[in-house]
Subunit: 425 residues, 2 copies
């Protein structure tokens, strides 16, 4: 049991990094408080499957306090952190009393960013939270529903055009799954049009899709996406998003559903701390992940700008955040034992995966690259393995089986109001 | 295949009654259009389990057009019907063109009613839709989350008091499940209080709970609920609901979570038709379920006031709605064949079931009454049987197994924003 004289460690954010830090610190003689603005930890890598009606929200989310229930020295609090008082060493929480800390770990993540065009957000929602995912699911399904009513072919074509902006893993996975939804799952459910006429357009400003992978894998992914019916537009940035569609390279594409998968901005941790940040708002941390001038404050995960030993930016992926959480837990425990902890954080690349529809994927482990069916199986097994709990593993496996064998997706629900014509809801 | 000269039957509402009518008419030489304001058919009898974090939304809801996909003469439309033009024989749909009909079946259901106190709705939400269920789930879980922050014992006690108004099957099922949530599922997840201190209070204006059952079964249910820790207040109607709590019989009960399970009002079908209605707004239909003066318009399910051969009101339950849907389908097919269909609708009571927590239930088949574990097994098996599709049956059975064996509920998610202090969201 922890006593009230034990050092108090506050962790803000229970994503991959914060949760890993809490679990690795829980065995020490410390009191830990985890604060998150959501009551659930989210398995972000499968969030696009909630957005495309393949999985239910509860299959990729777990109550944070449930995950930490066995650690009696860990208190979980649901609250929105809005600042850090570095002088008094307290965390400022909306509508609640400040929470004092001895050591602070900020693992507050990132949101999508519109590169100075926040006015596009209502027309082109991004995908970071469960609410984002149910909103995107509602828009996609509502577009098909409205197309069943349409009396004008141009309007129907606009309703059946889905534009995804940004061809990183999320954009590619969304495009592939929407194409399968249109060509396979929904086929036969409508009377007034053929769902296979739906257009899925993936827009990327750079010269190729999945630029984080080798050219060979990226070429393969492009061919696999094209085979699924996805149109790929490379080398043009979107210059306008509206209710009517998107504009790129002087061309206007009428589209009722636009999804933003192009950029992220870190949470405002840097502003709270008045700390130096990179262009995406990530805190420029020291090699030991502390904030310059604040040795008791760590920033990890997507909120931090961390450089590998080769000088490259550590990517904003789950394994990196977990490694940082573990590293910080070790560093704090060493300090508590009065030891010197000279070791800097070193990122180990565990491999890079992306999937394209239900039979293709690419995997890059560094020492080997794989593509096709084998890669797809590795992708699927790895994701089920990293889910938490037997029940969710079974539930996700069962859903995938149904999609694979019968083409049916279980979560085709429009909730929180069907999208109205012309309403950006 | 249907041809455009075939008679056009419009069905408004794809609940139990509307869906059953559509399926039984689909084999005839008719064109059918099903219009619903939701894209999904909902298995209402288990909705309280979504409200109490036991089941996921997608496990009790199916896309309507998916359920009707094999019938090429059935068109499904997502739209909000706002009126009926009986002169022109069209259905008026919000934001869409009117839909003409030869025969109309209104199966528009009911909403909860506050007996002239609609101002209570923000404080005491009812349970009819998936959104209602996720709202109630959010309120229940948020109350526990806020109690973890509370510094004042009176405030914590208010946060941990859950009031359910109305002790019909839904009220009883909610009260039993919330008690289990507090005493079992959530136990051990909080650090600043014991979740078993939560109070669950079931308020009923009548002299006993579950008044639709025999006195013996109702007594048993009352004892079972009391054993689960539910406090039952009989013989007092609530005289006020507010953010702070409820008032009954001169007493004020501070409570942060109030759920309304006390009354229903039919959808406005009677207003659309200018037809006679009972006090709850149900259309007073003829013995053949048509509207007086409108032989081509049928009203079924919770929207209709139907009397049994013994003069009693047919209850607002799924089996009654299904029987009415089948009857109307037969009546319409007989008319189409030019036959006289003299038969009136006769309700066959298939039995009455209610469950109290995870080990007790009551079942009344008329010829036999059962209570306890056996009744609970019958209740569980019957509900799984009536779910649609193997996948959902497996998913629900798996969730129940987890609840039964491990006390864990899978859908403990607060979505669409955590409830703010004092906010009726």
């Amino acid at each position: 049991m922890a006593s009230s004289s034990d050092p108090h460690i506050v962790i803000v954010g229970a994503g991959f990094g914060g949760l890993e830090a809490a679990r690795h610190l829980a065995s020490a003689r410390v009191r830990i408080t985890v604060i998150d603005q959501r009551n659930h930890h989210l398995f972000q890598p499968l969030l696009y499957q909630v957005g495309t009606a393949s999985l239910a929200t509860s299959e990729i989310a777990w109550p944070i306090r449930y995950l930490l229930r066995r650690h009696s020295n860990v208190t979980t609090l649901l609250g929105r952190v809005i600042g850090v008082d570095t002088g008094n060493k307290t965390v400022v929480v909306e509508d609640e009393k400040p929470v004092p800390f001895d050591t602070l770990i900020l693992a507050t993540g990132a949101r999508h960013a519109y590169f100075g065009h926040d006015e596009w957000e209502p027309y082109a929602p991004g995908l970071k939270t469960l609410e984002d995912a149910t909103k995107i699911r509602r828009r996609i399904l509502s577009a098909f529903e409205q197309a069943e009513w349409a009396t004008n072919e141009a309007e129907r074509a606009r309703l059946l055009t889905f534009v995804i902006i940004g061809a990183g893993p999320t954009g590619v996975e969304l495009a592939g799954t929407i194409a399968e939804l249109a060509h396979d799952t929904l086929r036969g459910d409508f009377r007034n049009f053929d769902t296979r006429k739906a257009r899925v357009i993936l827009i990327e400003a750079g010269p190729r899709i999945l630029s984080g992978f080798t050219e060979d894998l990226s070429d393969y992914a492009q061919r696999a996406l094209t085979r699924l019916g996805v149109e790929i537009r490379l080398g043009h940035a979107v210059s306008r998003c509206s209710e009517e569609g998107v504009e790129l390279g002087g061309e206007f594409l009428p589209a009722s559903t636009i999804i933003w998968a192009a950029g992220v901005a870190a949470s405002p941790a840097a502003e709270w701390l008045h700390a130096p940040a990179d262009r995406a708002g990530r805190v420029m941390v020291m090699p030991d992940l502390t904030v310059p001038g604040h040795p008791d404050i760590f920033v990890i995960g997507d909120a931090a700008h961390v450089e590998s030993t080769d000088g490259k930016l550590v990517p904003g992926v789950a394994p990196a955040a977990k490694q940082e959480g573990q590293y910080v837990a070790r560093a704090i425990q060493a300090r508590l034992r009065g030891e010197k902890f000279g070791e800097n954080f070193v990122y180990k690349n565990a491999g890079n995966l992306a999937t394209i529809g239900k039979r293709a994927a690419i995997v890059d482990f560094g020492w080997i690259q794989l593509k096709g069916r084998l890669a797809w199986w590795i992708w699927g097994i790895a994701h089920i393995f990293f889910l938490i709990g037997l029940r969710n593993r079974l539930a996700v496996a069962m859903n995938w089986l149904w999609i694979y064998v019968r083409g049916q997706r279980s979560a085709r629900l429009i909730t929180q109001g069907a999208a109205k014509k012309g309403a950006a809801s």
